[in-house]
Amino acid sequence: MIRRVYLDHNASTQVHPEVVAAMLPYFGERFGNPSSVHGFGRDARDGLDTARETIARFLRTGKDELLFTSGGTESDNLAVKGVAWARGSGHIIASRIEHHAVLHTCQALEAQGFALTYLPVDEFGMVDPDDAARAVRPDTILITVMHANSEVGTIQPVSEIGRIARERGILFHVDAIQTFGKVPIDLDAFGIDLLSFSGHKIYGPKGVAGLYVRKKTKMVALQHGGDHERRRRAGTENVPGIVGFGKAVEIRAREMEAERARLMALRDRLWAGISGEVPEVRLNGHPTSRLPGTLNVSFRHVESESIVLGLDLKGVAVSAGSACTSGNVEPSHVLVAMGVPLDWAMGALRASLGRENSPEDIGYVLQVLPPLVERLRRLSPAAVS
C-alpha cells in the first residue's frame, strides 16, 4: 500500500468523526424544518440554535449577529454586495490578493458603477495599512481585506486596517475563511464589521459557512423569500450542515492553540528539509506572520503541475501555485501581486498541513520530493545542464 499524505488543508479538510456523529441525527429523526412550530421543527430549531450559540461564544459575539450561508463564496458576496447595494454607490477598497470570491465580486460592482481601489502588497504578500489610509476617499463605504491569504498564508495587519476604517466611519469586511478556527480573531479589537468564515476548512462539512454582521450594519439581502436568518438570507437552513459546523467550531475551540504550535513546527521542519535538500528554491509568503500550516515554495525551472502529478503518484496531495485551465496557465494573482518573477511563480507549490499530519508524513514528503524535483529539472531545457 502506498502511503497517502494529505497536505491540502487550505483547499478542504476531512470531516471530524465527532462532527459526522453530531450531524447524523439531523438527517434522521431530527429532520424537521426549523421554521415549523411542531415538535419536529423544534428539534431542528434546537440544533440550529445550539450551533449558533457555540459559534457566537467562540467569536465572543451575539447570536443575532451571525448568519449562516451556503459557503465562503456566498458569505463574501453577501458581505460585499450587501453593503454596496445598501448604499447604492460609493468607493470600495480591497487588496489585490483577495480570494476570487471577493475580487470578482468587487470587479462586478465596478462594472455596476462603484469605484474600486485595489491595494498592493509587498514581497511577503502583506498589505501596508498606510496604503489603506491613503486610499480612503470621502465616499469610501467599505474596506475589505482578507485575514490570511489562502495561497501563501500571509496574515494581514487587520487590526491596523480596522482602526483606520473605524476612525473614518467606514465598514470593514474581513474574509477569515483561512484563519477562522486556526488563529485568534478578536472582532472588537480588529474593528471588524463583517466577517466571512467557513466550515469545511476546519473539519466541518462543505456547503455551510457563516457571516458575522455587526449590529446596525446596513446591508441588503441577495436572495429573497422567507424571513430566515433575520431576513438577511432567505431559504430553509442547512440544519445538518450547521449542526456539524457548530460541532467543528466546538472542537476547534479546544484544539486550536495546541494544534497551531504543532503545525507550525511541522511546517517549519518541512521548509528546513526542502531548503536544505533542494537548490534554487524560495519561500513565498511572510516568514513569520503566516498561517500555522501553510508553506508555499517555488522551485525554479520546474512547472508546479508536474511536481503535483509526481507527488500524487507517490500518494502526496499538494496544490499547484499556478492553475492550468484549458491549456492556459494563469500565474497566481497573489504571486504576481507579490512581484514573484514569472519563472519562479510557475514553479510554486502549496503544502497546507492539518490535524491528521504527523512528523512521519513530513519525513516521507522530504524523502520523495527532492529526488522528484531533481528528476524534473534534469528533463527541463530551462535548467543549466
Partner: protein, 134 residues
Amino acid sequence: MNYSDRLVDHFRNPRNAGMMRNPDGVGEDEYQGCGDMTRFYLRVMDGRVADARFQSYGCGPTIAASSAGTELAAGRSVEELLTLTEQDVTLAVGGLPPERQHAAQVVVGAIRAAAYDHLRRRDAALAGRATERV
C-alpha cells in the same frame, strides 16, 4: 485529473530524456498559453532517425507526450516526421484530456521544428558541396 496508465508510465519513466551533443537536427516549440516548452534533438543516419531525445518544461502530460514523441520519431524518415499529427501523439500516450491537448501540440511542433532544422542543415551541406565542386 485522470490520466491514462500509458501517460503516467511515460511521465514516471521518460524515454530518451536529456540533451544530445552535436545533433543533426534540433527544434523546439512553446505553447504560448501556458509556457510549456519542449525541445527535440535528432540523430539522423541515411535519412532516418537513429536517435531522438527531448528536454521538456511543463506539466506531466507535456513531459509524457515528449517521451512518447521520441519513440514515435525513432526509425522514421525525416520527411515522415513532418506528417506526424497531434492525434498520433495523443494516441501514443493513451489519450489526453481536452484541457491538456496542448501537450500533443507542443510535441508535434518541436518534432517538426527539429526535422526542418535537419533538412536545412542537409540542404546547406549539399549546397556547400555543390559550391565546392564549381
